[in-house]
């Protein structure tokens, strides 16, 4: 489905050259929920950008559905870390934009938009502009905007980073519920180990810069999952322990 073959990435700027990714080999299976975790600046977001076709590898290649990604990849829905809502569009019109671009008839569009506004709990805010919403609310609009047009693959870069802990659990549960139905491929970048384990089929642990894959762990927890209860189970603790052991080292070295 998605394949990274021996991917390297160097960023050059006036400040100097930085090696962001070093020899990444990874393949994502269709309908898989894959989480990537690692310290800041380890190149996780860069890898997502490459899958989306926004930047290209310095060496190696990214394949999507067997084809190399050379231009913007329209098969993916990308929820970036940064807020990319169009400030001049209301919540409703922001969520509907992808459907609009696909030429969906208005009644159908409005129905889907209404459904997704409800899904992320923003009923009553349809006519608000992004500037009138809180940061957490804007994140939810972004989630709805990405889900509404059901792209084949969804790339999410810390989608629930700015959301409070309780709402985060609600949104995670919602994401899993939708994914159970749609079975899209999801590549999910997070800083939250618990989130990664709770959601994903496999968790990829990155080393600190230059980013390399340190460990790929298959999370064998049964589905459907209850993101809240799951955390109390012994298997969860076991996997958490193992991944934390791998991850911890990356942070410890950074501090020195």
């Amino acid at each position: 489905m998605i394949e990274a073959r021996d991917v390297y990435k160097v960023f050059s700027s006036s400040g100097g050259d930085v090696l962001a990714l070093k020899g990444i080999n990874l393949s994502v299976r269709p309908s898989e929920f894959l989480a990537m975790i690692g310290p800041s600046g380890c190149g996780k977001s860069t890898l997502l950008n490459m899958i989306a076709g926004l930047t290209s590898p310095s060496r190696g290649s990214i394949l999507y559905g067997g084809q190399p990604v050379i231009d913007v990849n329209r098969a993916v829905g990308y929820m970036t870390q940064k807020d990319t809502l169009l400030p001049w569009r209301t919540v409703r019109d922001n969520i509907g934009i992808a459907l609009e671009l696909r030429g969906l008839a208005k009644p159908e569009r409005e129905r889907l938009v209404r459904e997704h506004i409800e899904l992320v709990g923003l009923t009553g805010f349809e006519r608000f502009f992004p500037g009138q919403l809180s940061g957490g609310m804007r994140k939810r609009v972004l989630v709805a905007r990405t889900l509404v047009y059901e792209p084949e693959t969804i790339l999410m870069d810390e989608p629930f980073g700015a959301v409070d802990a309780q709402l985060k659990l609600v949104l995670q549960a919602e994401l899993l519920r939708i994914w159970d139905k749609t079975k899209q491929t999801i590549v999910f970048v997070t800083h939250d180990l618990g989130e990664a384990i709770g959601l994903a089929d496999r968790v990829v642990v990155f080393s600190k810069r230059p980013g390399q894959i340190k460990l790929v762990k298959t999370v064998g927890l049964p589905r459907p999952r209850d993101v809240h209860r799951l955390r109390l189970s012994p298997q969860f603790a076991e996997i958490y322990e193992e991944l934390w052991e791998a991850l911890k080292g990356e942070f410890a070295e950074e501090r020195q």
């Binding site: 169009l86 502009f129 500037g131």
Partner: protein, 277 residues
Amino acid sequence: MSRFAQPSEDEVLVRDLVRASRRGLSVLPPWLVLAAKRCLALVLLLGAWELASGRLIRPFWVSRPSDILARLLEWALRGDLWIHLRATLLEMSVGFVLGTALGLGLGLLLGAWPLAERIVNPINVAFNALPKIAMTPVFILAFGIGLTSKIVLVVSVVVFFVLFNSITGVRQVDPDLIASVRIMGAGRLALFRKVLAPGAVAYVFAGMKIALRYALAYAVVGEIMAGNRGIGFLVESSAGNLDTTGVFAGVSLLMVCGLLLYEAVVRVEAFMLRWRV
């Protein structure tokens, strides 16, 4: 929010809170109070002028508000006022609209097409640097002493303000916004219509507001240099007769026109940019 059911406790509460915060101390609406205060300031200013004229300064230099008002009334009754006002407003508004349309169309296009912009940039900059006032005689020779030459002059000034601001407006649109909409399936045209053009609006209006002042100024400049119509002509011919009152009457008309038009553009801008909070 429901329209049919009884308002809930919270809805009643919200309504009361909104009302209470709007009420403030005065029974009058706030905009009326502000308008009254502004009128008072204006009356004081004109009063001071009226009193100073003839006592502190000779009326020959500064005329006086009552004389100016009388002169405006005289022009209005004689019918000249409308002819001249109409000519000036026509020149500036047609020039402004054409110049804006041209600058906007070209600017958005060049903003979205960086290669073309890089090629023609020196030409744009050179023509912008050219003082349009020096071109006035050419325009008059080419287009006559009527309205057309002034319209061309106004267009030549307005177009650059809007052009450069439109280019910048498109350029400063956040690349991440562009990328996100492209991924969602936007082609070139959709990207332009849904992201680049709306993203440039704030810059376009900034350019238009400056251009508006210049549109009025250059319409008048054109009239002063040649022609037999327009407020500029009125001012010029009054000055020729050493008639300060006539000059001030004309100038005050220009001031009021400029103010009203600016206000109109600001209103349109506020509506277009209502998403900015």
